[in-house]
């Protein structure tokens, strides 16, 4: 029987590209939300993980932050902030949700949004440059140790990017635990680790807690790991 493939940790760098379009008010935000590439919707909703790896801002994505802070539109800011990008299978579905919220909000305004000289919203998209880290894991214990040491962008790649932009629903960690180690219980626990409104280091810490608990449960829980090749 062929041995299960190891988990190979991949880090990444997001190269940012300014799209040259900027919204001055909520109507323009809606207009450009319809037109910009999906990679821009992804960047402005999930990119904060890589930019702010250690703290969470008051609003969960760039659209919400801009409307609340720079436009002073707290209601729209709150409605956009509560959108969890991990609820959507791909950035197009996420885009539709954002468009629906802004459109509904504008439809209920008694007066058109004011136009002032505040800071505009600059649309950016990201290009992901993948970097294999060379770190591999074949067992749960190895996986735990590599996860503890790997550069944080690998956690971004295998959880945030995999689940949203790359369309790998459960994320790469859960997928490998289920597919290669047959650990449905652990995969489900990893899937439940909610990255929304968190930081990469907190995600790492929560994942390590889950893995440590499984390892502490002893060899019985480890029994389904593939045997080392003779």
């Amino acid at each position: 029987m062929a041995a299960s493939p190891p988990f190979r940790f991949v880090g990444c760098i997001e190269l940012l590209e300014n799209l040259g379009v900027k919204a001055q008010d909520e109507r323009e935000l809606l207009e450009f939300l319809r037109r910009v590439p999906a990679g821009s919707v992804f960047y402005h909703t999930c990119g904060y993980f890589l930019r702010h790896r250690i703290f969470v801002g008051p609003y969960a994505n760039d659209f919400a932050t801009w409307t609340a802070v720079h436009r002073g539109d707290r209601v729209l800011g709150e409605r956009l902030a509560v959108v969890d990008p991990f609820d959507f299978a791909d950035p197009e579905q996420l885009r539709e949700e954002l468009i629906s919220i802004v459109s509904d909000h504008l439809g209920h305004l008694r007066a058109p949004p004011r136009v002032d000289d505040g800071e505009p919203f600059h649309f950016v998209q990201s290009h992901v440059v993948e970097i294999p880290t060379g770190l591999e894991a074949r067992t749960l214990a190895e996986f735990r140790d590599r996860l503890a040491e790997v550069e944080a962008s690998a956690i971004y790649y295998h959880t945030v990017l995999a689940r949203t932009r790359l369309g790998r629903g459960a994320g790469d960690f859960a997928g490998w635990l289920r597919g290669s180690l047959g650990r449905d219980d652990l995969a489900a626990a990893v899937e439940r680790t909610d990255p929304y409104l968190s930081s990469l280091e907190r995600v790492r810490s929560r994942l390590l807690d889950v893995l440590d608990a499984a390892l502490d449960a002893g060899p019985a829980a480890e029994g389904r790991e593939p045997a080392a090749p003779a």
Binding site: H52, I131, T133, S153
Partner: protein, 372 residues
């Protein structure tokens, strides 16, 4: 001699290993930088460090300097100022001399590379005589959001001939029909001293200090270089006058190479203010945050990109706003330590030279094909 492994002590966990892997990926591709000078200015200083690190990583990286006479450099300086929105007199003869000198430099320099990064306006027209092959990118370290129209019309013809451009933040980008990438500047160990002029609003800082002084026993130190305009002398005269009336105001006019003094002042400070009303990226803010200080900064230039408002400091739009948040911090000293600590980690992840290097190598990986 800088070693890449030295950065394991300061960069986020795993960063150096990721850089080594990324270097493997782009090895064999030539990465050429072209600028007007090797010395003076934060961009040249950062590039010196980056070149050392690229060499340490075993990359094929080069740095060429264009030649020019006094008139060329004066014209390039005037173009740079005009592109940042200042009125300058630039005659047809001056612009033709600028183009001619770059044509001459282009004929002498080895310009073949997989990726050519041309820094700032001075060498930018080299692109008109670019050799076949290679990707040419204009790296603009300036804020071009409101350029002087006539000069921009002249300069844009050359900027648009690049395959792409790199700016320090989205708000600095003018309209250009080429892809525009964003790479923030970075800090390494030390930096240049910023000029004290009206764009940094030192008088507004004094006014904020006076509001705070009514309630707290504080000392204000205004330190910086003299700048190169007559305005800077006037500002220092006003500051010295203010200092003469209040022994707790210290105005320090420092030479451009006073990094040690600035370093010591930042370390000794409780809170750092950069209440600019107009500014570039102002990477010195990241240096203060690296030293664990909360920073109160103006809502201009690169300050909002560096200061996480309410987390690593505060963004303000008035002297009163600066005074308010100064009092808030002084009345809640536990916040000073907390914000300073978060600020240092924020810089560790976003504004160290290792991040700058990884962005440049990602640009190389993204824009160039693997050689056959």
């Amino acid at each position: 001699m800088i070693k890449i492994d030295d950065y394991r002590e300061v960069a986020p966990r795993g960063t150096v290993d990721l850089l080594l892997r990324l270097a493997d990926r782009v090895r064999g591709r030539r990465f050429l930088h072209i600028s007007a000078t090797r010395f003076g200015g934060g961009a040249a200083e950062a590039l010196q460090r980056l070149m050392l690190l690229m060499s340490e990583l075993g990359l094929d990286a080069g740095w060429e300097i264009i030649g020019g006479d006094t008139e060329f450099y004066a014209t390039a300086k005037a173009i740079t100022a005009a592109l940042q929105g200042e009125e300058r007199v630039l005659t047809e003869e001056m612009l033709e001399h600028y183009l001619e000198r770059n044509r001459a430099s282009g004929g002498k320099l080895p310009l073949e590379a997989d990726l050519v990064l041309v820094h700032d306006p001075a060498p930018a027209s080299l692109v008109a005589d670019r050799p076949a092959g290679g990707t040419w990118v204009w790296r603009c370290h300036l804020d071009l959001s409101a350029p002087e129209r006539r000069i921009w019309n002249f300069f844009r013809r050359y900027a648009a001939r690049y395959d792409a451009a790199v700016f320090s933040r989205p708000g600095f980008v003018p309209h250009l029909p080429i892809p525009q990438f964003i790479v923030h500047p970075s800090i390494d160990v030390l930096r240049q001293v910023g000029a004290v002029d009206r764009s940094r609003d030192p008088i507004g800082v004094v006014n904020a200090y006076r509001i705070v002084k009514k309630h707290h026993d504080v000392r204000l130190v205004l330190a910086g270089g003299g700048g190169d305009g007559p305005e800077s002398g006037e500002v220092f005269a006003e500051l010295r006058e203010a200092a003469a009336r209040d022994p707790d105001i210290v105005a320090l006019e420092l030479p451009p190479d006073a990094q040690l003094q600035i370093n010591a002042l930042q370390r000794a400070a409780t809170i750092v203010l950069q209440k600019s009303v107009r500014d570039g990226f102002a990477i010195g803010v990241a240096e203060a945050m690296w030293k664990g200080k909360p920073v109160i900064g103006g809502a201009v230039g690169g300050l909002p990109a560096q200061i996480a408002d309410g987390v690593t400091g505060y963004i303000v739009r008035s002297a009163e706003g600066a005074a308010f948040w100064l009092r808030h911090l002084l009345n809640n000293p536990e916040l000073i330590a907390r914000m300073g600590g978060v600020g240092r980690e924020h810089v560790r992840r976003n504004f160290l030279i290792t991040r700058h290097l990884s962005d440049y190598l990602a640009l190389l990986a993204h824009l160039t094909a693997t050689p056959a």
